[in-house]
């Protein structure tokens, strides 16, 4: 019965493709269809995660050692659940939003199929399978970016696809190298290279290929130097698309990095090697430049895109500290960033949908018109800054304390710098998010000096507000009581075999 594992992967892909054939014109019917598919995928993901946990299913074998196989291990459970839940919420939101951009069928077809590709990446049981879904994801989400079909959005989508393909190609170089080492076929906790019993000399090149692969897959996660597509693609994609791009699809890069680092190579080989130094250094640069440029940016969605560049690199930073505390922090950051960034993008979308305002400087005094939207925006912002009582604080606490646990000398200095940069980045995050909220709520928009100051209610309708509200509640809930999540994530981290 363990073929069930592949259903949440292929069901959305097929049903998404089917939408082109069905071409549903009635809005109500289409909404039913989309929510049914997304709901069914979530349900099947949960069933697979609980019942078929850790059972391998091989769909086919291409040649010796090239299996097309799936397994829901604990990493996959964590990521696939996030993907399915966020996609359902954002999907509901986009029923209303996509009226704004039109061509609903195409949008939802690709949207649903993207979910399938993402779950495929999570469930993939070897680098080969993962790579196939990784490329599929790039191509499917390409259509989401260029949905509006304006000249700019097509150019942005082209930039996105080129970056993604180049990144994936670098990743592929790494994959080729790892496949050249005997026994490196499936994923195994603690890596497969050490178990192969290879000599030190034959492992000498491994860190170099780890660097190449991580930079390649880091493209999706928005890591310097291949982060350039985020600030171009996010502002031009429709809000739900940029929301999942930023909150969820970047996490596909994180899965790929986890699979390479912990499940193929093994933390022990990387610890103390050049790969750890280089990647930590790149992460520190990314964290800083992301926050700094977000601070200098005026277009709200672009600002959020730069913020993603910075925040997702917290995850890679936490992972490459290579100890359990920091890894727990990193995976918590995956969850909490997904929640917070989706909330922020959906709020930005609601603002655009209702008022067509895209710049931060235009949002002064808007808090009275859209109080609920801006309340959620503020809470998500507080979480990203890392204020206690909100989720982001917990993950940052773990990452920083984990980083400061390193005691060998040159590495501990880098970790220390990293923590300092984390703090500076938090400060900049406050500068680029909290100031927006503060101005929206407390500054009066005096420029017009209307005699009759009538506060119009421009609040978005419930279809848009409820998903935002659910995400916001989750941020507060996990900020106050993250215990169960931390317990689960520590079992995930134990499977890293550090």
């Amino acid at each position: 019965m363990n073929f069930i594992t592949i259903i949440p992967v292929f069901l959305p892909i097929f049903l998404g493709a089917l939408m082109f054939k069905l071409n549903i014109q009635d809005r109500k019917k289409r909404e039913k269809y989309v929510s049914a598919v997304l709901g069914a995928t979530l349900l099947l993901t949960i069933i697979t995660n609980f019942i078929y946990f850790d059972q391998r299913f091989t769909l086919m074998t291409f040649s010796a050692g090239l299996d097309f196989s799936f397994k829901a291990d604990s990493v996959a459970v964590l990521f696939s659940s996030i993907f399915a839940i966020i996609f359902l919420l954002v999907g509901i939101y986009s029923f209303e939003y996509i009226k704004h951009d039109g061509d609903d069928n195409r949008f939802f077809a690709f949207y649903i199929a993207t979910l399938g590709a993402l779950i495929g990446i999570a469930y993939a049981d070897n680098l080969f399978t993962m790579y196939l879904f990784y490329e599929m994801l790039s191509i499917l989400s390409f259509a989401l970016v260029m949905h509006t079909k304006t000249k700019e959005s097509i150019a942005a989508a082209k930039k996105y696809i080129y970056y993604s393909l180049f990144g994936a190609a670098l990743g592929l170089i790494g994959i080729f190298y790892f496949y050249s080492i005997p026994s490196a076929k499936g994923f195994e906790a603690g890596g497969v290279l050490l178990q192969a019993g290879l000599s030190q000399e034959s492992l000498a090149l491994v860190p170099v290929f780890v660097i190449i692969a991580v930079i390649g897959f880091g493209c999706k996660a928005g890591m310097f130097p291949l982060h350039g597509w985020l600030p171009t693609a996010h502002p031009l994609a429709p809000a739900p698309a940029s929301s999942v791009l930023s909150g969820v699809i970047t996490k596909a890069g994180i899965i790929a990095i986890i699979r390479v680092v912990f499940f193929t190579v093994g933390a022990d080989i990387i610890r103390g090697s050049i790969a750890q130094y280089v990647i930590l250094g790149l992460c520190i640069i990314t964290i800083f430049i992301g926050s700094m440029l977000a601070y200098k940016e005026n277009v709200l969605k672009k600002r959020l895109a730069y913020s993603t560049v910075s925040q997702v690199s917290y995850v890679i930073f936490g992972l490459f500290i290579l100890n359990e505390v920091a890894a727990i922090g990193a995976l918590l950051q995956v969850v909490f960033h997904a929640l917070a960034k989706n909330t922020l993008f959906l709020c930005a979308g609601a603002i655009i949908y209702k008022t067509h305002k895209t710049k931060c400087s235009e949002l002064i005094g808007m808090g009275k018109q859209m109080p609920k939207t801006f309340a959620c925006f503020t809470i998500a912002g507080l979480s990203l800054v890392g204020i206690p009582f909100f989720a982001g604080f917990v993950s940052k606490w773990y990452i920083a304390t984990g980083a400061l646990l390193i005691d060998s000398k040159p590495l501990s200095t880098i970790a220390f710098i990293g923590v300092c940069v984390l703090m500076i980045s938090a400060l900049l995050t406050a500068g680029y998010l909290l100031v927006v909220s503060a101005k929206a709520f407390f500054n009066e928009n005096d420029t017009k000096k209307n005699a009759v100051k009538k506060v119009e209610n421009k609040e978005a309708n419930n279809t848009m507000l409820i998903p935002i509200g659910i995400l916001t509640c989750a941020i507060i809930y996990f900020g106050i009581r993250p215990t169960e999540l931390i317990d689960f994530i520590s079992t995930v981290v134990q499977s890293f075999g550090m």
Partner: protein, 651 residues
């Protein structure tokens, strides 16, 4: 079990009460609930204060909270501050109802945040470890922002921006310090920090972490040079909240400074001297600017800063005196408590003035209290107390602090640099006392002696409700009782905190009313009178021009250094560097494009039979050559030749 629920309720009931305005839209009900909750909190904290021996050291944990769990513990100083906090919140809540009666814009929002800040402050004083303390400290700092900007006019927004910037920076610097401390010692429990840090005293990282945590707290208490937000935010916030800011929120900072000095950097003489220096500077400049100010609330704000300086001097002296630090510790604690009560009265009176006249400029409000004896009585009690006049409570605490400095001077046998600096500190102490006398006298003369201004004459019925009168009466009574019975009340209050302050309880009574001690007060009063009647009267307080502020914020550290650096220089420099990194990959793509995929600018012309060979344009020959395949091949060949030559000769 009972104590667990009691302490958790003390912290979380006000926080949850903050949600009440979302459901109850009647501000009177919310206010009443807030007052009742504050009274219950006062009763609870008094109960804990009197049974401190029973509950000292009991740890109450919520180990699921925020990942690491939060823990509460009752300690002497904390619980005394909790009593003060609930007292202030009763006063401020009662006064809020009156203050907002005629302009109830956003009043529900105000009550919501006001209540949460109350709970968070209780959380700070009851926290058992720095993690818990930090959580509540951040909540308190950030949620105070809506209260500071409550008026939403330009002043409030400016003050709020300043407040927010300082709070966020302070919070993050402090968090960094806590991270380092945690990685060094592995514990954050306040009662274990002293032992955990004692064998690390030589470590520069420990000092760095102590300093970082100190910065976070120093910002909240307005110590120099982190005071930029204070003289703006106190006057800009609504009066009830100004009272809370000055009476309670600044004390959370002092509480933290005490923890850093007594627990993390215990016995570090250099550190204690540094804190002393900061205290002395803050004490002096606060008093100095209060003396110059021509705005009622600004005077009180600078006065707060100055008094916090006095307290910080006490904190440093306790450390410097070591074994004999009891009097300094007592002085610190008592001055904290005194200042809390005094500033509640003074800021509430400032609020009363503002709600009647809608101005705080000393020229507008002159003579306000002439026909109102009750205001005069309340003001006088508070003012005499803060001046340190014998028989008032401030005298006791200032005497103790002064005694501590004098004792330290005696401990130096011969004349040395240390002794000289200590002498200087004493002189500054007395001088600041003199300025205190001068600025309180200035306010007294403005309010009660000067001729009423036109604005004051317009006010027929002075708005000053019975409830507020009763509250101020109670607080004045506390001050009077403490001042008149120092041995029964003040010594006992301070005794409760002795163990937390790390000193032995006082073994023999200090003779407060000995001539030596009264002499100190007399010197300050004399200096004050000279300053007011000779210096001020002849320079910036004149009959013709009224009150002028000769300084008037011309030079401020914030505008000169902090703002340009933080908001202009650093973002632009680092923004530029980041931009280079940002376009790094794009730059490569651009260069590749430039070399390999140059778009042709020559318009292809499709003449018959010449579809695949564009027409040559004679005028554009140069460009067309550089874009031709042959030219590319030529360049390729050139490069090839260079590489060949290199291989031939260099390798």
């Amino acid at each position: 079990m009972g104590i667990n629920i009691l302490i958790l309720a003390m912290v979380f009931v006000p926080i949850l009460l903050g949600l009440m305005p979302l459901f109850v839209k009647n501000d009177k009900t919310v206010n009443l609930t807030l007052v009742i909750v504050s009274i219950i909190e006062l009763i609870c904290s008094l109960y804990l204060l009197f049974n401190i021996d029973l509950y000292n050291g009991t740890i109450i944990s919520l180990n699921w909270f925020a990942g690491l769990g939060i823990n509460f513990e009752v300690n002497g100083l904390g619980i005394l501050q909790a009593v003060a906090t609930s007292l202030i919140w009763i006063g401020a809540s009662v006064f809020s109802k009156e203050y907002f009666s005629n302009k109830s814009k956003n009043i529900l929002r105000y009550y919501g945040f006001f209540s949460v800040v109350f709970g968070a402050t209780m959380g700070i004083f009851l926290a058992s470890d720095l993690f818990t303390l930090f959580i509540f400290f951040e909540i308190m700092s950030l949620l105070s922002y809506p209260l500071v900007v409550h008026n939403q006019d330009q002043d409030a927004i400016d003050a709020g921006n300043s407040y927010l910037a300082f709070s966020v920076i302070g919070g993050l610097v402090m968090l960094m310090g806590i991270f380092i401390l945690y990685s060094l010692t592995g514990t954050l429990v306040i009662s274990q920090l002293a032992t955990a840090c004692s064998n690390l005293q030589a470590s520069p990282m420990l000092v760095a972490s102590g300093f970082m945590i100190f910065v976070g707290f120093a910002i909240k208490s307005g110590l120099f040079p982190f005071n930029g937000w204070l003289p703006k935010s106190y006057p800009a916030s609504p009066a009830p909240f100004s009272a809370c800011l000055s009476s309670v929120l600044s004390k959370t900072g002092v509480y933290g400074v005490i923890i850093v000095t007594f627990r993390i950097l215990q016995g570090n003489v250099a550190w204690a001297s540094f804190v002393l220096a900061i205290g002395v500077i803050t004490m002096f400049f606060g008093a100095f600017f209060a003396f110059l100010s021509k705005d009622l609330k600004e005077t009180l704000a600078y006065s707060s800063m100055s008094q916090i300086g006095f307290i910080t001097v006490g904190v440093a002296m306790t450390q410097l005196l070591g074994e004999h630090g009891t009097i300094a510790a007592y002085g610190t604690v008592l001055h904290m408590f005194n200042h809390t009560c005094i500033k509640l009265i003074l800021f509430t009176l400032a609020g009363v003035v503002y709600q009647n006249i809608h101005s705080l400029n000393l020229n507008d409000i002159s003579g306000f209290g002439r026909k109102n004896p009750l205001i005069k009585v309340y003001y006088s009690i508070a003012a005499l107390s803060i001046m340190g006049i014998p028989l008032f409570s401030g005298f006791i605490s200032k005497t103790l602090l002064h005694e501590a400095i004098v004792e330290k001077i005696w401990m130096f046998d011969t004349f040395s640099l240390g002794a000289g600096l200590m002498q200087l500190s004493e002189m500054m102490f007395l001088l600041s006392g003199g300025f205190t006398v001068a600025y309180m006298l200035k306010l007294f003369i403005v309010l009660f002696i000067n001729k009423p201004s036109t604005k004051v004459l317009k006010v027929k019925n002075v708005l000053f409700t019975k409830q507020t009168k009763i509250i101020l009466g109670c607080v004045s009574f506390i001050l009077l009782a403490m001042g008149l019975m120092p041995y029964t009340i003040m010594d006992n209050i301070a005794g409760i905190t002795a163990s937390f302050m790390g000193v032995h309880p006082l073994d023999s009574q200090v003779n407060y009313f000995a001539f030596v001690n009264i002499k100190g007060a007399l010197i300050s009063v004399t200096i004050g009178l000279i300053l007011y009647f000779i210096v001020a009267k002849n320079s910036f307080i004149t009959k013709e021009k009224g009150y002028v502020n000769p300084w008037n914020g011309k030079v401020s550290v914030e505008n000169l250094i902090y703002k340009p650096i933080i908001f202009t220089v650093l973002p632009n420099v680092f923004g530029f560097i980041s931009r280079i990194f940002d376009i790094f990959a794009d730059l490569f793509i651009y260069i590749f494009n430039f070399i390999f995929c140059r778009d042709t600018k020559i318009p292809p012309s499709f003449f018959e039979g010449k579809k695949y060979s564009p027409k040559e344009d004679a005028s554009n020959k140069k460009i067309s050559i550089t874009k031709s395949l042959e030219y590319s091949l030529l360049l390729y060949g050139l490069g090839f030749v260079i590489i060949m030559l290199y291989l031939l000769f260099a390798v």
